[in-house]
Amino acid sequence: MLWYKSWLETRWRFLIGLGLLSIAACGAVFDYPTVLKLMPLANNIETTIDTSTKIGRLVKQAAALQATYRGFIWWQWVRQNLVGIWTVFAVLLGSGGLIAASGSGGGGALFTLSLPASRTRVIGVRAVTALGELLVLVVVPSLLIPLLSPAIGQSYSIVDAFVHALCIFVAGAAFFSLAFLLSTVFSDLWRPLLITGAIACVLALLEGALALQSIQIGIFRVMSGESYFRGTGLPWLGLLASAAVSAALLNAAARNIARQDF
Amino acid sequence: MLFRPNPSSGVPIYLQLMEQVKHSIETGALRPGEQLPGIRPLAEELVINPNTVAKAYRELEHEGVIELRHGAGAFVSGSARAKKETDAMKAGQTAVAATIDKLRARGLSDEEIRRLFEAELAGHSALPRTGGRRD
């Protein structure tokens, strides 16, 4: 029944996320015809932009990418919308938990702790439930793309959808794990959220700055599966590193809960 | 039938219970051979510890006032020993009534009389009763 309880505690976050991402996926697909109409304009921009500056080159690249459907989906949907919104929900689902329940009244923390279930099991069920929901949150909207593309006369590879979904999940789990760990430290809901959010923003800015120097690394890069998109294979190193970090953070969270006094 | 014992009176509850049962037998509310309430229902009705009820019943059995029949419950003893207890109680009641009358005649209030009895019963009357008391 711990699974059911975890579901009850996270279902609104999950359902809202699922709704949002599904709508965004539909939006991406049905936006494309409009984008196509603007292509002639894009071509104009292409010839007028000064490509001697870094930024100029990037803007030109972006415009070029969106000429193809696959490129458009990757640039607009995967890289920006899906990664961005999903990460927000990864952080949201990582918050909450026993410590938060012990702070505010009605959380039932002492009740949970009085049941014949070890703390490791309680926190483990919570983590697995949330991760399961996060997996669904990325796979379902991703599959909507190949499903709906025929409606606008395009096609999108299911394999591509899955691969990008998995990259987001495996790499982005680190954000979930960080929020999860912080929620075993702070008793309010806001601090884990804000701190993880702040770190995510900092990493994004850092990644952007490094990109301008032509240094291609960063967690969001791994999440968006850029190397796969560009045909140079999956970002194995990044995925492994992120998975290792997630495991370490979750382990630390379990140890925190085990030795916590309530 | 049995009233709620007073938990704060300083007299152990099981003693109060025993007194009530004996009183019921004397007044005829409980007759020899009649069954007493079971431990659980009585504890629940009076909202007291079932161990306390059990203790009272055990002590009453020890004094021969009731019989505990295994599996059947507690019954008022029909034996002569029980009758002897009742007779002793009757004699005691007469003696107490006479003493109280005497003390009242000497001008002691009921409250004072009660305190005297309680102090005596507390068992520590070692001090010499020399003058200086409120005579």
Binding site: K5 | V47, N49, H124, L127
Partner: protein
């Protein structure tokens, strides 16, 4: 019902045993060497002022907090080891003083949730109590009154065939009718099952009423402990009245809890009967003496004030 004298001899079968427990939270010393023995089958009252350490003790017993030092065992199992703590909780029912439950669940949901943890769940008792307590099955817990929450919390612990109930201030905030209902349910349940009840309380009257053993805790230490009947028989207040001002006497007899002088009256509170006090008092030549039994309330008030 076994003879309570057996309980003392079966010391190795204590349901709860704590020895010299210390617990501090930062600079706050919550427990300073608390020792506790709860024999099986007893209804054990745990009295103490706010902040005396009642809730901390309970949390240590249930593995919610780890003691700084000392030993606590429930059913003979160490309370601070994770696996044995789970086993302890399998056989124990706990109700916190806040009656902390999942506000977002309905009554029916939390009953199903709890029942899933206990394969021996008593569905018959569940139906009985849900009916007699008049629990609204479809209402969310956050919408329940305090009395109803308490009754629900009670149902959740009574149906699990627990050998031990640990209740932290079970009747706090309840009106007299609900209080009586709660006490009556506890007493009835104890009478029909083999179980021990350990409950902390502010209400001395209810400890008086249903407990057969009591421990008084003050500033993290047990100051009085024993069977209620023994305490009622052993505690006495001896009042000595003198012709002139009462002398400033000290008594060598054991068990003197407090000596008070007021004008011509010397009052001695003894935890070991009045005989020895009266013997020593003879030398002081009082005019008269009075020996009076002491209520649990007075024992409590004097014991928590007597510490320096």
């Amino acid at each position: 019902m076994t003879d309570r004298a057996d309980g003392a001899r079966r010391a190795d079968a204590l349901v709860i045993e704590a020895a010299d427990l210390h617990k501090h939270y930062g600079s706050v010393q919550a427990l300073r060497g608390l020792s506790l023995q709860v024999p099986p089958g007893s209804i054990h009252g745990f009295l103490g002022k706010n902040g005396a350490g009642k809730t901390t003790t309970i949390k240590v017993l249930l593995g919610m907090a780890r003691p700084t030092s000392g030993r606590a065992r429930v059913f003979g199992l160490p309370a601070d080891a994770q696996e044995s703590s789970v086993e302890i909780r399998r056989r124990t029912g706990f109700v916190s003083d806040d009656k902390d439950l999942y506000d977002y669940m309905t009554v029916a949901e939390i009953i199903r949730f709890t029942a899933a943890f206990f394969p021996q769940w008593r569905a018959d008792l569940e139906r009985t109590y849900a009916r007699t307590f008049e629990l609204p099955l479809d209402r969310k817990i956050r919408a329940l009154s305090r009395g109803t929450r308490t009754k629900l919390a009670l149902l959740l612990v009574l149906c699990r065939r627990a050998e031990l109930l640990i209740l932290d201030e079970p009747t706090s905030g309840l009106d007299p009718a609900v209080t009586e209902e709660v006490l009556q349910t506890l007493v009835g349940h104890v009478a029909s099952e083999e179980m021990t009840v350990f409950f902390s309380s502010h209400q001395i009257s209810e400890v008086d009423q249903i407990a057969d053993r009591v421990t008084i805790i003050d500033r993290g230490r047990a100051v009085v402990s024993g069977s209620l009947d023994d305490l009622r028989e052993q505690y006495r207040r001896v009042q000595l009245i003198f012709d002139g001002d009462a002398p400033d006497a000290t008594f060598r007899a054991p068990g003197v809890v407090r000596v008070r002088r007021s004008g011509r009256i010397l009052t001695v509170l003894s935890s070991a009967g009045a005989e020895r006090i009266l013997d020593e008092a003879r030398a002081l030549n009082p005019v008269s003496s009075d020996v009076v039994p002491v209520t649990l309330k007075e024992i409590f008030l004097e014991s928590v004030a007597a510490e320096d």
